[in-house]
């Protein structure tokens, strides 16, 4: 597990109020927005803002679409790309 992965799991744990074990069991296909009823638009907004803060990246409005939040895997791949980009820049 890389650091972006573990940071994302830690944030999801805080947002969803789940145990570390539950969140550790998330895999690439685990559904997020739409599958987890407590993850409404306000919670997703909090999630993204916290991600920006802890990973020191900026997520633009137009990058946030249904696909991005569809699954844990989609969100993680996107964030890993963002982190790599910010480290290059």
């Amino acid at each position: 597990m890389n650091s972006t992965d573990s940071t994302l799991r830690a944030i999801l744990q805080d947002v969803l109020g789940l145990s570390a074990e539950r969140v550790a069991a998330f895999d690439a296909s685990t559904g997020l927005f739409g599958d987890l009823p407590e993850l409404d638009s306000m919670a997703v907004a909090g999630l993204l803002t916290e991600i920006e803060d802890r990973l020191d990246i900026v997520i633009e409005d137009d990058e946030v679409d249904g696909e991005l939040l569809e699954s844990y895997g989609n969100l993680l791949v996107f964030l890993e790309g963002k982190v790599a980009q910010s480290q290059l820049g």
Partner: protein, 223 residues
């Protein structure tokens, strides 16, 4: 216990409420709530901490912000400045000796009191999150909205965000507001253990966090 306190508002003098543990003791903490929905998510944790502080011999007061909770004032008429003035009034009315500001509460707490700020939040960060919630909800219902355009519209006409009808002055004020820390001790979430409750999708109690917060305060006050 619910206590009342007099508060000036945009449409005249009003009476606001506060959750209070008041036994006329010397150590009296004004607790300035977090803003918008964060206040709801943190309320149980905070009130549980107030109970523990009461048992430790410390009075606490958690006022409603004008326009919020049971307030008879219009939310849309509020501003950052107005909330700051209101918290000054609450502080004087309850003869607070200390202040505890929660998250965005640090934008409006009476800076002259000693005390604590729990994870102070910047105004623009709070606004960004509210705007983002709106653009995500719009996208979900098949519409496209742009944060920058919404903000521009909000600065002149006001805007509904996360169920709150924010007036133009509140939006403009929030965009520039930074935590006003004047010697208050900053408490990091990591000191309380667990995740910040303002992040939590659903409101919940957190007895360990309440206990850690009360312990920190009792220790600092030498109670």
């Amino acid at each position: 216990m619910i206590a009342a306190w007099p508060c000036p508002g945009p449409s005249g003098q009003c009476e606001e409420y506060a959750q209070a543990f008041d036994r006329a003791r010397q150590r009296r903490i004004l607790i300035v709530p977090a803003l918008f929905d964060e206040a709801n998510r943190m309320r149980r944790m905070v009130v549980d901490a107030m109970r523990l502080l009461d048992a430790a011999g410390i009075d606490t007061f958690l006022p409603d912000l004008p326009g919020c909770n049971e307030s008879a004032q219009s939310f849309t008429a509020q501003s950052v400045h107005g909330w700051r003035v209101a918290m000054e009034h609450a502080s004087r009315h309850f003869r607070a000796s200390h202040v505890l500001a929660l998250r965005g509460g640090a934008l409006i707490h009476p800076g002259t009191l000693p005390g604590w700020a729990l994870e102070p939040a910047k105004g623009p960060t709070i606004m960004r999150q509210l705007l983002r919630a709106r653009t995500i909800a719009a996208r979900e219902s098949g519409r496209h909205e742009d944060s920058a355009a919404l903000l521009e519209q909000g600065r002149t006409k006001g805007l509904e965000l996360a169920g709150y009808r924010l007036g133009a002055s509140l939006i403009a004020g929030m965009q520039d507001a930074l935590p006003q820390i004047e010697g208050q001790r900053i408490i990091a979430q990591s000191e309380l253990g667990g995740g910040g409750l303002w992040l939590r999708a659903e409101p919940a109690a957190a007895p360990d966090q309440s206990a850690a917060l009360a312990r920190r305060i009792v220790t600092d006050m030498g109670a």
